[in-house]
Symmetry: C2
Subunit: 160 residues, 2 copies
């Protein structure tokens, strides 16, 4: 049972960013799981991270506030689902911390990292409720936004 | 961090059934996690379980169909979040299997079992999005329904 895959991304509903990057999985993991790192790469410049709170365990909080160049703040509140160091990080905004169902679910994120030589095969998947959610995320600039943020993550990881 | 509790039940939002029962945790666990057992206790008679599907791992499916005495069927589709044998089982209908946000979230369930002598301290908590959800569940007969189902679980466990 546990060897079978739970799901395959559905192109109608999901968005996937996949790339091989030249920093190792443990640095990618660190970048994703420490607030002081998140604040340096998570939002494509000139957006910034105004705040970040992490309780790294299933059911724990993952909260960020993104700030636009005009100073407008966009809070995101979610809950970790899977925490497998250097391999797999899953969280969702369909649940608040402690697994309480949220009022405005948008997506679940699955980040996986596998060693590739000295680097990492990095896959970020955004899982939406419906096609409208996937389209909205695409129009918000998922591919460019997450891609630019990943460039920033790699640049940061090289300084660690 | 991991020693602190994630949350305390909120009486405005959550419903709790707590009881010490005279069957051990491993039998309670078996009753909760095998479809052939679920079908024998999960719905207070004269309701029945028309179908049950379980993939017992985080992200895996927990699907039941309850059938009313008049033959009307009520499907429930959810996703396991935590699977700790003989201790703790968590699932939610805010996510579909594979963690996809659902369209009609109602509650997350946390079932805990601790040994008490030859028996079990059993706590079932239903975590709702808002007060309306808690009230609706209460009016659906949460306390009586889950209590009667638990009586049935205990009776079944004694035959195992």
């Amino acid at each position: 049972m546990t060897s079978s895959r739970l799901w395959e991304p559905d192109p109608k509903l999901d968005l996937v960013l996949e790339r091989v990057i030249d920093v190792p999985p443990d640095l990618v993991w660190a970048a994703w799981t420490k607030p002081e790192h998140i604040s340096k790469w998570f939002t494509p410049a000139p957006w910034t991270v105004a705040d970040c709170e992490i309780d790294l365990r299933p059911g724990g909080i993952f909260r960020t506030i993104m700030r636009s160049p005009e100073g407008k703040e966009f809070p995101n509140l979610g809950c970790y689902l899977e925490v497998v160091p250097n391999e797999r990080l899953v969280w969702t905004d369909a649940l608040l911390p402690g697994y309480r169902p949220s009022t405005n679910p948008f997506f679940t994120a699955v980040i996986t990292m596998e060693p590739r030589g000295q680097g990492t095969r990095y896959v970020a998947t955004a899982i939406h409720r419906d096609e409208a959610g996937r389209k909205q995320h695409e129009e918000m600039g998922f591919h460019q936004g997450w891609g630019t943020a990943l460039d920033q993550l790699v640049a940061l990881a090289k300084t660690m």
